[in-house]
Amino acid sequence: MIESKVLNALTSTLVLAAGASFPLHAQTAQPYQGVVGRTLAESKEWWPEPVKAPDGAPNVIWILIDDVGFGAAGTFGGLIQTPTFDNLANKGLRYTNFHTTAVCAPTRAALLTGRNSASVHESGFSHTVLSAGFPGWDGRVPSSAGTIAEILRQNGYNTFAVGKYGVTPDEDATDAGPFDRWLPEKALTTSSASLVRRPTNTSRTWWKIRLMCVRMAAT
C-alpha cells in the first residue's frame, strides 16, 4: 500500500505536496497522505479521519456554584433545601473530603486547567488591582495550560460554557479585546446573557463585572 503510494508520487509529473508540510486542517496534526498531481487523474484525494469521541463517551457537565459553605445545602446536612442535588447525590456519589483554593478566580483557573492556581498564573485574580507582574500572579492563564474544553474539543466534543468565567484580565474585557483570553479561545463556545454577574440589571459591585459569557452559536 505504502509502496504504491510512493510509486504514484514518483510517476507524477509534478508532485506539489505530500507529507507533513501541508496540514489539511488547522486542528489536525495528521500529515497529508494524498497525492497532488498536475491533473486530477494523476492525483489521489485524502481526507483526515474525522475526530471522534471515544465510543459511548458520556456528555459531561461541570457545575460550579459560587460562595457556598459546606453546611448550607441539605444534601450535605444543611438546612437549605436542594432537592436536585439530593437526587443526583443519591444516585451518584458524595465526595466529602473535597477542597477548593479558598477563593473564586484561583479555584476557577485550577478547575479549568487541572493545575494549581499558581502554576497557571492565577494565585490572585485577573483583575488589575489584584494581579501583579510575576509568573504566578499576572492573572494571564497561559496557553500551555489548556482547559478541559480545549482537550475535549480536540477529542470530538462540542464544548460550551454559561455563567461566570472570572479569569479574563480586566484590560482585555472590553469590546476591543484582545480576545485570546476570552472563553471561545479557551474552546468554550460561550454564550450569554449579561456581562455582570449580577442577577438583575441593577448591578453595581466591582468584583462582579465582566464575568458572564453566553453566546448562541457553537464553534
Binding site: P58, V60, I61, W62, I63, L64, D66, D67, V68, G69, F70, A72, F76, G77, G78, L79, N87, L88, A89, G92, L93, R94, Y95, T96, N97, H99, A102, C104, T113, G114, R115, N116, A118, S123, V129, L130, S131, A132, S143, L152, N158, T159, G163, K164, T174, D175, A193, S194, V196, R198, P199, N201, S203, T205, W206, K208, I209, R210, M212, V214
Partner: protein, 416 residues
C-alpha cells in the same frame, strides 16, 4: 456577553437565562449531531452577593431561621453525622472570634439577621431549582443516563464579605458605619433584602459561619477548612455502579479535570494547537469511583490566598492565618509569620487542637515543604491583602488608589 460583545442585562435572573441558554445549546447540538457528546460548564453567579431572588423563594423560609445561627450549627452538625458526610468522632468548634451568641442579640437584630438568611436560603434553593430544570431536560430528551455530572457546591467557603451585621446596598467604599449604625441602617431597609434594590445584599458573618458548619472561618481563609472544604457530587448513571455512596478520599479542585479525562477515556495531550502543555497536576479520582476504601492518592496540597496559607500532607496540616480587620472593622493583631498552627485532621477533623507546640519538628518539616511547594509552583513572592489594599502591586505612574481603581471598574461595568 454575547458574540464577543458586551450586552445589557435584560432584567431576568441570570440563573434563569443561563439555564435557558444551556438547554437551547444542548438541543441544537443534539439535533445536528445526536451521537456527538457535549461538554457544558455551568457556573452561575449564585450564590455570590448580591443575594437577589424572587420573593417566592425567600418566603419558603419565613420563620425557619428564627432559632438563630448557634442552633443552626448544632442541628446541621448532627445531620451531617447522621448522613455520614463528616466523621463520627468530629467535634463542633466554638464560634469564631467576634461572632456573638444568637441569644445575646437584641430582638431587632435577630429579626434582621433571620431575614438575611431566609433570602440566602431562597437564593440557594432557587439555584438548585434552575439546575433541576437542566437535569430534567436531559432526562426528557433521553440524555441523562449517559451524562457525567460534577457539582462543586461552592468555589470556596461561605462569604465573609457581608460584615458582622449584613449588607443591603452599601458598597466597599461607602462611609464606614459603626456596627450600631449599620444595624439601624439595615433595619430601615429590611424590606429590600433580596430585591434588586439590595445591590450588595449579603448575610452577616454569623450566618456565614453557620453555613460553613462544621468548619472554622470563611472564604479567602486558605489556612482553614472553612475556606477550602466544599461538597462535591459526582453523578453518572451509566458509569457509576454505586448509588448514594460516600467517598472520603482527600481531593482538590485540580482533580476534576484528570478524573473527567479518565472516565471519558481521553488522554491529556502533549500539545494543544502546537503549544507544548505543562503537566496536569491534579490526581484522577477514577480509582475511587468503584472503591470506597481505596487509599487516598492526592496526599499533598498547598493553599495560599493573599497571606493566609496552609499545607496538607497525609492528614497533617500546617497553617498560617492572615488576620485583617477589613471586613469586621475590629482591630486584629499584626500579621505574625511565625504564628503557624498544626493539626492532625485524621483525628481532629475540624481543626480544634493546635499541636504546633507539641510537635515542633513536624511543624518545621511541613513549613519547609510549604516553601518547596511555593517555589515549584511559582507562588513567590508572597503577596498579601495588605499589599493589595495599599496599592503596592500592579503599579504604574498613572495608577490610582485601590478603592479608586475599584470604582472605575464598577463604572465600566455599568456602561457596558
Amino acid at each position: 456577553m454575547e458574540d464577543q460583545a458586551h450586552v445589557r442585562p435584560d432584567g431576568r435572573h441570570l440563573s434563569d437565562q443561563i439555564t435557558d441558554k444551556s438547554i437551547s445549546y444542548i438541543d441544537r447540538q443534539k439535533k445536528a449531531a445526536p451521537e456527538k457528546p457535549f461538554f457544558l460548564y455551568y457556573a452561575p453567579g449564585a450564590t455570590h452577593a448580591p443575594h437577589q431572588v424572587d420573593r417566592y423563594w425567600c418566603d419558603l423560609y419565613k420563620g425557619k431561621f428564627d432559632k438563630g445561627w448557634d442552633a443552626y450549627r448544632e442541628e446541621v452538625f448532627e445531620r451531617q453525622k447522621k448522613l455520614g458526610v463528616i466523621p463520627a468522632d468530629a467535634k463542633l468548634p466554638e464560634r469564631n472570634p467576634d461572632i456573638k451568641a444568637w441569644d445575646k442579640l437584641t430582638p431587632e437584630e435577630q429579626k434582621l439577621y433571620a431575614r438575611f438568611m431566609e433570602v440566602y436560603a431562597g437564593y440557594l434553593t432557587y439555584t438548585d431549582f434552575e439546575i433541576g430544570r437542566l437535569v430534567n431536560h436531559l432526562k426528557e430528551i433521553g440524555q441523562l443516563d449517559n451524562t457525567l455530572i460534577f457539582i462543586s457546591i461552592g468555589d470556596n467557603g461561605a462569604s465573609k464579605e457581608g460584615t458582622l451585621s449584613g449588607d443591603v446596598d452599601r458598597a466597599l467604599w461607602d462611609k464606614h458605619l459603626t456596627e450600631a449604625e449599620n444595624i439601624s441602617y439595615n433595619l430601615k431597609k429590611i424590606g429590600e433584602i433580596g430585591t434588586p434594590a439590595a445591590t450588595e445584599g449579603n448575610y452577616p458573618l454569623g450566618w456565614a459561619q453557620a453555613a460553613n458548619t462544621p468548619f472554622k472561618f470563611w472564604k479567602s481563609d486558605a489556612n482553614s477548612e472553612g475556606g477550602t472544604h466544599n461538597p462535591l457530587i459526582v453523578y453518572w448513571p451509566k458509569g457509576i455502579k454505586e448509588k448514594g455512596g460516600i467517598r472520603t478520599q482527600y481531593s482538590h479542585v485540580i482533580d476534576i479535570l484528570p478524573t473527567t479525562l479518565d472516565l471519558v477515556g481521553v488522554q491529556a495531550p502533549e500539545e494543544i494547537r502546537g503549544i507544548k502543555q505543562q503537566p496536569i497536576e491534579g490526581t484522577s479520582l477514577a480509582y475511587s469511583i468503584d472503591d470506597a476504601k481505596a487509599p487516598t492518592r492526592h496526599t499533598v496540597q498547598y493553599y495560599y490566598i493573599f497571606g493566609s496559607r496552609s499545607i496538607y500532607d497525609h492528614g497533617w496540616k500546617a497553617e498560617l492565618a492572615y488576620p485583617n480587620s477589613f471586613i469586621t472593622g475590629i482591630e486584629t493583631p499584626p500579621f505574625d509569620e511565625n504564628a503557624w498552627e498544626l493539626y492532625n485532621l485524621n483525628e481532629d477533623y475540624t481543626e480544634r487542637i493546635d499541636l504546633a507546640k507539641k510537635y515542633p519538628e513536624k511543624l518545621a518539616a511541613l513549613k519547609a515543604e510549604f516553601e518547596e511547594q511555593a517555589k515549584s509552583h511559582h507562588l513567590y513572592p508572597y503577596i498579601t491583602f495588605d499589599d493589595v489594599w495599599n496599592g503596592r502591586i500592579h503599579r504604574s505612574k498613572d495608577s490610582k488608589s485601590f478603592i479608586d481603581a475599584v470604582k472605575d471598574i464598577t463604572k465600566a461595568g455599568e456602561n457596558q
